[in-house]
């Protein structure tokens, strides 16, 4: 899953926004969201796979923070931008000739 797809889910986006604001533990995120702790963990796992967040252990807690190198997010946005561009292009180029 790329970063764009990872952020397409509204709850996951909410999780991500909270992590962007400041590093947080799973329990802390679950307390602020109308979803269960396992669900939050699942969202974080996907965000991590997409390269949007990083994590580290602090004692028994796992702290998540935004991946500030930005590359994953940039790739996600550009990926979407170019896919949309090519989709628009396909639609246009396949129209009857007299239109172009």
């Amino acid at each position: 899953m790329d970063g764009w797809a990872a952020l397409a889910d509204p709850t996951r986006r909410l999780v991500f926004e909270l992590v962007v604001a400041r590093p947080r533990a799973v329990g802390e995120l679950a307390a602020q969201l109308p979803v269960t702790r396992p669900a939050v963990s699942q969202h974080l796992k996907l965000l991590k796979t997409a390269g949007l967040v990083l994590d580290h252990a602090e004692g028994t807690r796992r702290i998540y923070r935004v991946n500030r190198d930005g590359l994953a997010a940039l790739r996600a946005e550009l990926d979407r931008f170019w896919n949309q561009t090519l989709a628009n292009f396909k639609q246009l180029v396949e129209q009857p000739q007299e239109d172009a």
Binding site: L71, A73, R75, T85, L86, F89, L92, E94, Q97, A100
Partner: protein, 161 residues
């Protein structure tokens, strides 16, 4: 399924039912109609996006008030097979003023048959923008950085829904 963080390119492709020459022409002459409009660095709405079809040409958006925003320079223009242009936009969707840190986009038009063309697009050297990211970290915490990003993500996603 994973997009590795260290991958510094974005690649995508599409096959269209059109001859190669026509595909190339429509892409470059009608760029205005294929570039997603929600990406706009002007203060006003975009009236037109222009792709100047020659090496050294500019790619720019013109606003409804006449202001212009040039965001790419054409590096290669080789009809009907290939174009390459710079991407002078930084990771926060602002114009990149240091042209050494631009990434670049290559679009290849490959004839699969007389009536079908595969269009391969590669946006590469994205890590070049990274040189500026170190210094932008503070800004990223403010209104111009991640929050703006998120609003864009949200706006576009909602639009899709």
């Amino acid at each position: 399924m994973t997009a590795p963080v260290q991958d510094t390119s974005v690649r995508t492709e599409i096959v269209v039912d059109a001859p190669q020459e026509r595909a190339f022409r429509v892409f470059t002459e009608n760029f205005d109609r294929i570039k997603p409009r929600e990406h706009n660095m002007l203060a006003v709405d975009i009236a037109e996006s222009v792709f100047e079809p020659r090496v050294g040409g500019r790619v720019y958006d013109r606003g409804v008030d006449g202001t212009e925003c040039r965001w790419a320079r054409v590096l290669a223009y080789e009809p009907p097979g290939r174009i390459v242009f710079t991407w002078d936009i930084n990771p926060y969707w602002q114009i990149e003023t240091d042209l050494d840190t631009s990434s670049e986009v290559e679009v290849r038009f490959i004839a699969e048959s007389p009536g079908r063309t595969r269009v391969e697009l590669e946006h590469r050297n994205l890590d070049r923008h990274g040189d500026g990211w170190e210094g932008m970290r503070e800004g990223v915490r403010g209104g111009d950085g991640w929050p703006l990003y998120l609003r864009r993500f949200a706006a576009v996603t909602v639009e899709d829904g």
